[in-house]
Each structure stands twice: as C-alpha cells, then as structure tokens.
C-alpha cells in the first residue's frame, strides 16, 4: 500500500508503561533523535517514587512526555496527541492526559485479563467501545519483539525487556526520526554486551519496519526543523546543565571544585553527573548526611576550593544551621536546592517550587543569602555559573532554586562559546606584611578570602559574632547591629550589578503583568502568547534573581494595573512582592506535583483581566 506523509507543526507524545518497562530511556532516546532533527522541544519525565512498584499497577506507571515542533516550544504540552501505553495501567493512569480524538498505541499483548484487573478495568477498554473518541492502534509489541529476537538466542527476560525499543522504533517511523542516532547510542551503551545490543537493535528495527510495512498505519508525519539561531546545538537536561555550569565556573575561575552531597531524589543526578568528571579536578564526596555535606563543602571553601553542596527540600532543612554559619563566616558556598513536593518526604519525584520562603528566611537570626533560580533546563548552566560568580565575588553562600521538572526535563541548547563566560576572580588574600584584618571589606563589602597555608594571614573564623574589621569575637551591642546591617547590605548590594528585570510587553500598554520565577517560564510564555492571540493586553517577566531582586522590580510591578504571579506553591513570591512593594499582586497557584499547564494559566489570565 502507499503510505502518505503529512506535515505537522507540533506534536506531543507520551510514552507510558510499567516502571520496569524502560519508558524514561525510550523517551530520552526519542528526544535525542528529535533534537538531532532540529525540532524545538521540551520534555517532562513523570515517574513514581517506587523503584519498581508492583508490576502492572496504576501507581507503578512511569511516563515520559515530549513536545516537539517546527516552531517555538516552551512547555512539554498540556495534552498528548499520542499516548503509547505499554499496559492497561498506563492507559488507566494517562488517558486523561490525551487530547480529545488523540491517538492511542497500546501493547496488545499486555492487555490480559489479569493486567486489566490490576489496572481496575472490568472489560478491555480497547474492545468495548469506550475509547471510540480516540484513534486506537493495538500492536502486539511483546510477541513481535520476541519473534524479532528469537534467532539471536537471548533469554526470554532480555527479549521481553527489549519491547520498549520496538515501541521506539515504531514511533521513530511514524515521526520520521533518524534510526542512526538510536543505533549509535545502543552501540555505545552495550559495547561489551553484543547479544543485548543485537536484541535491542533487532527490536528497534522490527518496530520501525512494522510501521513501514503493515497496513495498520497509513500515515507517517513530518515535523520540520524549527527556525533557530545559527550555531551548534545539543539537547541538555537541567541536572546535566547544572553540573556543567559548576564545572565551567570552576575552570573559568581556576578554583578547584569540591562537591559534597548526600543522596536524595531528585538532586542525586547532580552528584552522579559531577562524579563522572574528575578529570576536571572535581572532588565529589558522598557524605554521611546532609549536614556533613554542607560542612565538608564549607571546610573546602575555607581551604580555597569552590565548595558546593546539593540537595532537595528535606536536606535544605538539615543544612540550615550550616548555611547560617557560612553567612557569618562570609565564605563562598553554592547550595543547589532541587525542589520537590513537600512538606516532609512529600512526593519525592514530583515537582514544586515551595522552598522560596525557606531559602529567604529559613535560618535563625538575620541571615541573608542571595537566591537565583534557573528558568529552563539549559538555563541551569548559566545560573550555576552565576551562583558561583556571586559566591566568590561577594564571599557569601548562594542558594540556587532549581526543581524536579527543570532537573529532569531537557531542551535544545545553543552551545555557548566558553571564551565568552564572565571572569570570576578569587582574589585570594596575600600578606602585605601588616597585621591581617579578616573582616576588612572591599567596595562590594566582601571580606578577604584568606586560605590556610598562606603566610602572614593566620586568623580564626567561626559562628560567634565577629568584631567589625578585626574579626575577633565580639558581644558588643553596637557592633552586632553594625555587622547585621553590613551582612544585609552586602547581599542587597549585589542588585547594583544585576541586569534589569526584562519585561516582554510588545505594545507597552499591557493591563496585566504575569510575573513568574523558575521553571514556569515556558508555561508563562505559552499562556501569554495565547492570551495575546485573543487580543488581550498582557506583559510577562521572569525573575531569575530572587534575592536581591533586580533594581527595577518595584518599578515594574507598580507600572501595571494588575499583576498575576503563577507559582507551584501557595503564593510565596506573591507574598514577597506584596510586602516589599505594596502592590496588590494576585496569585495563581498549583500544587499537584506537576508543572502549571499553559491552558490553566491562560484561563487565569482571562479571569484576572475580566474580573
């Protein structure tokens, strides 16, 4: 039969299966092939906290969603055009995430009576007409995979595990993704395991050929490359970008990097990535606990290294006292908080941005720290670099507020020229022969970084209040007040060199400003674009620096009659803006462990403008 090829501007695909079905890997590989084609894209891995929940159950479903397009992509998409469901539980869990009339590709072999029961279906939904509103394809992926590999002599278990490659092959055919990217990756991955490599390639090709040859699928789709600035691109996930940004800062400054961390979801990815790059002189220590991780990094900072610790919310709670110590010691330290849904253990694999007030105020005493938040996966690179620059320049601990969504998601990234990175000068103190004053400050209010081993600079620092200039212990009343103000003024003073908050307001006459921070950038851009298309006058801005705010922040939020602040918390940035600038900022909040969807925000924009 003749197959037709149709153009599509944008497509959202969701791969869903059991935790053990390899859906994250399938999604990752599809993403790589998509990136190489030059589509713009955004991804959302969505997996359970359990490593392997009971097979076939709804709470064991692991999914990966990708939106790719020939135009700008800012979010992983509100609804999937295609759902690949490897078992009934995946269909049960994710059917409501499929657009009306969308395509369902199910692994027919997994739709057994037992699996249907486990997923809570009384009857097979693919056979009883309940999915009539969708385009349903029943593909016996397991048996086709087994047949494809049977001559290789692999065990039944390995053969069964390759069925995700069949699904990947099928979808690669449907959307014209290159086969080479995946095959080359399998080559690298299974260098020493020929049989497993052969089985995966066979399954992948079987899926691809199945699409091409069977009559089940009449159409495949083409999504042209998105227009992009000239240059070399790669796809990058937030956790990788964060690690590389830190490495780049270390290399640029010549300060060896020292990362201490305790395993915690979702920040462990950062530890894993950094520990692979020891040839950059990166020391990584898996500490005995969160508190140790912070102290080891702080000790290394005292000794002249770029001390970094990373964690998620529960670890931030534990590190709080050490961060206060870093504040009073005035040593450079970078703390990466990959936020997850709380409180307490909360939902470890789900995203949220509810640690903003913790970062601002979560230490006893007046204990100010600069806070920066990346707004996209690739932006994690630049924010990590910037955090290191601020920490070193101002001799202060800095908090980076990433989140689960940013950490796990990926996007195409125009690879920057490493020669263009700003300089970071450690300006280590050296003796001029006079007595050393460890708390004498420069014009930025930063104190000297005097590293043990340096002659003529022996001094003691600690958690007790210091006397201004001399650094001796002091309980003197006026001195404590002065030092409290200095520590505050030093952090506030960073604003002097920060770029202004950029406002996107094409006509300059918007009646509403949508002001966000962190990972909501993509959603806000998409929602604002849609609102504008409906004729609404909407401006948007994204705060990257949360403490201090850029200098013009007050002017910006007062400029607009209405301000809407979308956040994955109960209104934390809104609270800061209201208290700082006395503006009637409205909140749009969502705490479901998922990113805000563009259509939700679009609705909220309409309500605020009309209301």
């Amino acid at each position: 039969m003749t197959k037709t090829v149709e153009e599509r501007e944008r497509v959202v695909i969701r791969f869903a299966g059991d935790s053990g079905d390899g859906m994250q890997l399938t999604g990752d590989r599809f993403t790589s092939a998509t990136a190489v084609l030059g589509n713009d894209l955004a991804t959302l891995p969505d997996f359970p906290a359990e490593i392997r929940a009971p097979a076939g159950t709804v709470h064991g479903v692991s999914a990966f969603q990708i939106q790719f397009a020939s135009t700008d992509v800012t979010t992983p998409g509100d609804h999937a055009d295609v759902l690949v469901a490897m078992n009934p539980a995946a269909l049960r869990a994710d059917l409501d995430k499929v657009a009306p009339g969308g395509t369902l590709i199910v692994n027919e072999d997994a739709f057994t009576q037992r699996n249907l029961e486990k997923a809570g279906f009384e009857k097979d939904p693919t056979a009883d007409g309940s999915l009539d509103g969708y385009q349903v394809y029943r593909v016996p992926m397991t048996s086709l995979t087994l047949r494809a590999v049977e001559e290789l002599g692999v065990g039944k278990k390995e053969a069964d595990r390759a069925k995700n490659m069949f699904a990947l092959g099928l979808l690669s055919w449907m959307y014209g993704r290159p086969q080479e990217t995946t095959i080359q990756w399998l080559e690298r991955k299974f260098t020493d395991q020929t049989l497993i490599y052969d089985a995966n390639v066979a399954a992948f090709k079987a899926g691809y050929n199945f699409g091409e040859t069977t009559e089940l699928f009449a159409t495949s789709f083409r999504v042209e490359a998105a227009p992009a600035e000239p240059g070399t691109y790669r796809n990058i996930a937030g956790s990788t970008a964060m690690a590389w940004g830190l490495i780049a800062a270390s290399q640029r400054s010549g300060i060896p990097m020292f990362y201490a961390s305790y395993p915690i979801t979702p920040a462990s990815e950062l530890l894993h990535e950094l520990s692979r790059h020891k040839n950059f002189g990166v020391v990584t220590i898996q500490a005995e606990d969160e508190i140790a991780a912070a102290n080891i990094a702080l000790g290394a900072a005292f000794a002249g290294h770029l001390g970094v610790t990373g964690t998620s919310g529960p670890g931030m709670d534990l590190k709080a006292e050490t961060l206060g110590l870093a504040v009073i010691m005035e040593l450079p330290l970078v703390v990466v908080d990959v936020q997850r849904a709380g409180p307490s253990t909360g939902m470890p694999t789900k995203t949220e941005q509810a640690d903003l007030l913790l970062a601002m105020f979560g230490r006893h005493g007046e204990s100010p720290m600069p806070i920066i938040a990346p707004s996209s996966p690739a932006d994690c690179f630049h924010v990590a670099f910037e955090a290191a620059r601020i920490a070193v320049t101002y001799r202060t601990p800095v908090i980076v507020l990433s989140d689960t969504f940013l950490s796990n998601s990926s996007e195409p990234w125009l690879i920057p020229d490493s020669a263009s990175f700003p300089s970071i000068d450690p300006a280590f103190a050296t003796s001029n022969g006079d007595g050393f004053e460890p708390y004498r400050r420069d014009d930025k209010l930063a104190r000297p970084w005097a590293v043990p081993g340096t002659p003529g600079l022996v001094h003691r620092i600690g958690g007790l209040e210091r006397e201004d200039v001399s650094g001796d212990i002091s309980y003197e009343a006026d001195n404590h007040e002065r030092m409290t103000h200095i520590r505050r003024d030093k952090v506030e003073g960073i604003a002097k060199e920060l770029p202004d908050l950029h406002v996107d307001d094409p006509d300059g006459d918007a009646e509403l400003l949508v002001l966000g921070w962190g990972s909501s950038l993509g959603t806000i851009r998409a929602a604002v674009a849609r609102a504008r298309a409906e004729g609404k006058k909407v401006a948007s801005a994204q705060l990257r620096y949360l403490n201090p705010f850029p200098k013009n922040t007050g002017e910006v939020v007062r400029r607009y009659p209405k301000v809407l602040v979308p956040e994955m918390n109960l209104g934390q940035l809104a609270m800061l803006l209201r208290s700082r600038f006395l503006v009637d900022a409205k909140s749009f909040t969502k705490v479901q462990g998922l990113p805000i969807f563009a259509e939700e925000l679009e609705r909220a924009i309409g309500e605020v403008i009309d209301g």
Binding site: L37, A292, F302, S418
Partner: protein, 342 residues
C-alpha cells in the same frame, strides 16, 4: 636560602608562635588550660609553621580552643568539626589539621561525623576532651556520664548507659586510637606526638577535669598518688602490668580480660599489648574498666596503617586525568549528539 639565614624558620618555632593574643576564658582551674599549654608547647617540635596548621572545633568549652591557637582556625557549629575538617584536609593535603571536640560535641550531636571521619581515615588529628559533663550549658549529663549521674537535667539520676569512646572509635575502624590525661604533661605530649606522626585519622581521648560541674571525676587516675596505682599504661609489645608491677591485665577463666595480681597469676595469662594486632585486643583493653573509677588503660590502644582518604581522593583525580585527558569545557559542552544550524 638556608633556614637559619631566613630567620623565623621552622627550627626556631616556639610555643609563643602558637599562642594567640586572645584572652583565655575557661573557668579557673579547668583542665583545658593544661591541654592548651601542652599543645602550644608541643606544636613547635612538629616543624610545621603556624600558617600551615588549622585547628577546627565545634561547640562547648572545648570549642574555644581554636581561638587560643595562633594558627588558622575554624570554630564551627555543634558537632560538625570533623566534617569541616574533612573538607579542609581533603582540599589541601599540605595542612596539619586538628579537631578539638568534647564528649557532648563529638559523641552526642556530632557522633555521626566522628565515626565517618574515622572510618574514612581522613588525615586529621581529633582531640576529644572528655569531662563526662556538659560544661558550657552549665552541667547536664553527657553521653559519657556514668549511669545514675545526678545533674540539673537528671535530678533522679541518669538512666542512660554511657559510651566508651575508645571502643566506639575502634568500632568505627579508626586507625589510631589513644587515651591520655589532661594533667600528665609528659604522657599527653607523647600521645600527641604519636598522633601527629600517624598518617590518617588519629583519635585521642583526653580525660579532662571540669572543676565546676564534675570535679574529681577522674581522681582515681588523675590524682598523683591514686594515679600511680590505677593507671594502666599501655606500651606496645610489653606485658600490661601496672601499680608498680603489682597488678596486671590477664586473660580470665572465661576468656575476658581482668585485672589480676601479678603474684599468683600464670605469666602466660598476662596480656602483651599489640597496637598493630587484632582490634579485638584493643577492644578488650578498652573494656577492662567500666569507667575512670576503676583501674583504666591509657596510652595507644591501636595504631595501624590504612590508605589515607585525601590521598585516595587525589589519586582518583589523577587517574581520571590520565584516562580521560585533562578536562576541557569546550569539549565537554560539545560532546555527544549535536547538530548545526547554518
């Protein structure tokens, strides 16, 4: 330039070079004074300049020690000194890094960091001032206080069983474990010398008298007359005999170590100390007494060689450079799958 020409060289270091200008503020009569003085006097013989030395401490009376040493110093938060010191020692292997802690700081709030620094064998020298009481917070029982201890927080007596710090350190796989006494300048200095020479983590418990909140806790060992009878001084490769040769540590009928009169004891049953041998011997010697109110072992319980943590960390960096080549950011960023838009 030769040292003598340079002036102020290593050979000319004195106690004064390690004494800071800060006024010492422990209670008059505190055992900490004797330890401070002994340490300041001992440091010059190491031949390490003050600026190559770092003292790290936590919270409690012992925490102030850092301020009185004219070296680099870091006075951290409660219990975390071993972690801070780990960061320092791994970052710069050239430094001589000392941790000063107490029984509350090191064994209670900071117990986790202590055991992990010991098992990693970080190149730090840990001095644990054990006075069996919380002094700075004015007299609560500590994790080394004896059962039944009456304090402000235990008016009916403590029901907590105490730690045996030596046994704890041995259990944590420490490579150097010793005990000494604040007012025995010579023994203290000998132990410090051995601790300083040891490659890796050294753990030194120092019995220290708190004359305000727990006066006399160690009198049986510390007071001159009684001490002569009750200190069991461990000497490597020698039989464990004390009390002027009158008593010994011997293997009892049930295999446990007991204090026995030398006279009437089969000489084969008298234990010969072996700091390099089985850790079980050191562990048994740590349990000869239930506390400092009985004849108690002091000296070096265990001293063995094991790879030093910081060395292993640096070896790995070196091997990674040899295997992967020196890191190059531009290469890192452009590695893997890329595509070009023209």
């Amino acid at each position: 330039m030769a040292d003598e020409e340079r002036g102020g060289g290593v050979g000319t270091l004195t106690k004064k070079d390690f004494t800071s200008d800060q006024e010492v503020r422990w209670c008059p009569g505190c055992g900490d004074y004797a330890i401070l003085s002994a340490v300041q006097a001992f440091m010059p013989e190491l031949g390490i300049e003050p600026h190559e030395t770092v003292f790290v401490s936590g919270i409690g009376c012992s925490g102030r020690f850092t301020y009185y040493m004219d070296t680099y110093g870091m006075h951290g938060i409660h219990g975390r000194a071993p972690a801070l010191a780990t960061g320092i020692a791994v970052a710069n292997p050239e430094l001589s890094v000392w941790v000063v802690t107490g029984d509350g700081d090191g064994l209670s709030i900071g117990g986790n960091h202590l055991i992990h620094a010991l098992r990693r064998n970080v190149n730090i020298k840990i001095l644990l001032f054990n006075n069996q009481i919380y002094g700075l917070t004015k007299g609560q029982y500590s994790p080394t206080s004896e059962e039944g201890k009456v304090t402000k927080s235990t008016p009916f007596g403590s029901v907590d069983h105490p730690f045996n710090p030596i046994a704890l350190a041995l259990g944590a796989e420490a490579t150097f474990v010793a005990r000494t006494i604040d007012n025995d300048r010579k023994h203290l200095t000998d132990v410090l010398r051995a601790a300083a020479a040891h490659k890796g983590a050294s753990f030194v418990e120092i019995y220290q008298n708190c004359n305000v909140f727990n006066d006399g806790a160690f009198d049986l060992l510390r007071e001159k007359q009684q001490g002569a009878h009750n200190q069991i001084r461990l000497v490597d490769d020698e039989p464990v005999i004390f009390d002027d040769g009158a008593r010994s540590v011997a293997v009892g009928d049930n295999g446990r170590l007991v204090v026995a009169n030398v006279e009437g004891t089969d000489p084969d049953r008298i234990v010969t100390h072996d700091a390099q041998g089985r850790p079980s011997l050191a562990f048994a010697l740590a349990h000869v007494s239930r506390g400092p109110t009985e004849p108690t072992c002091i000296g070096i319980f265990r001293q063995v060689e094991r790879p030093v943590y910081g060395d292993a960390v640096r070896d790995q960096l070196q091997r990674a450079r040899e295997r992967l080549g020196k890191g190059d950011v531009a290469k890192l960023l452009s590695g893997g799958d890329t595509w070009t838009v023209s």
